[in-house]
Symmetry: C2
Subunit: 191 residues, 2 copies
Amino acid sequence: MSEKEQAPRLRRSPEQVRAAVHQAVVDLLSAADGEELNIPAIAQRAGVNHTSVYRRWGGLDALLADTVTTRLERNSPLKDTGSLRGDLIAWAEASVASMRTPEGRALVRAVVLSMPGSALPEGERAGQFERRMRSIEQIRERAAARGEQAPPLEQILDQLIAPFYIRTIFGIELPASGYPELLVDRLLGPA
Amino acid sequence: MSEKEQAPRLRRSPEQVRAAVHQAVVDLLSAADGEELNIPAIAQRAGVNHTSVYRRWGGLDALLADTVTTRLERNSPLKDTGSLRGDLIAWAEASVASMRTPEGRALVRAVVLSMPGSALPEGERAGQFERRMRSIEQIRERAAARGEQAPPLEQILDQLIAPFYIRTIFGIELPASGYPELLVDRLLGPA
């Protein structure tokens, strides 16, 4: 029995369907050569009708954005290490670990595929970015509550987040050790 | 007469065909919703047979990489300002200007579409990145010839190049003025 025939019999809940579609996006992004990422291919892999994907998400960009934000939230529980420096290093370590996996790289690819020039509405793009930044905002708020002064969000973006993304995008090996500490030292000054 | 019918009559040179295909990639990346970027669509827009695109480039990823490197070389003549700081700021200003244009954003998108996880061979990806870095290497070599000490290439990537790319990718407005200087100050220390 093909996947396609199996799907309607499973009577999956909307949440199960949503998870299956997200997984199909990640699988295709991890493996594909860039030509296969379209809604019919995603729907087929997830075992759902492509019309229900269009109905639920509207288009590929919105689906990519939803996949990224859902998966990133699942992947990023936030440690409280007791200091701004420690929190940022822990966050960066989790990001390094994530970007060493095919799924992590697939998510970066998905973020970028829904970038400007695409049909994703401005508001959704901003929302997606803000969700990605929510962990960093939490780290900044905790620092403020401790009386520590944290750099502005945009500086953290430039100096801590951007290097991970760019290396993942260009396929440059992340340094084997000490990279999170190095970036945080550049951001905050040496410990 | 449709574009498709016109094409064979034009008897374009291989270089003209190559330029037309590159332009079609940029046009589709500037406008498309991510679902239309495939070789048949590119070939149709360029007015060439899709089999000749496959024959010449092998696949979408190699075509994207070739487009990016060709366009970036065309777009990036290198100023010699007489100092490392000046050269880096001039380079960054040119990058900011480029990323404010739809074509510049399309090229970033093309870089990313040919990133790891795709079928582009490892060697070509590295080649593409090195070509992008060639300007920076030239700036570093000039600095060395003047007796100035330049930061390692990877640090320039992290602190100067990554912030532009990440902001372009996330659709975050680049600061209206002073951004190149700010990034170079962070990289080299204040002037």
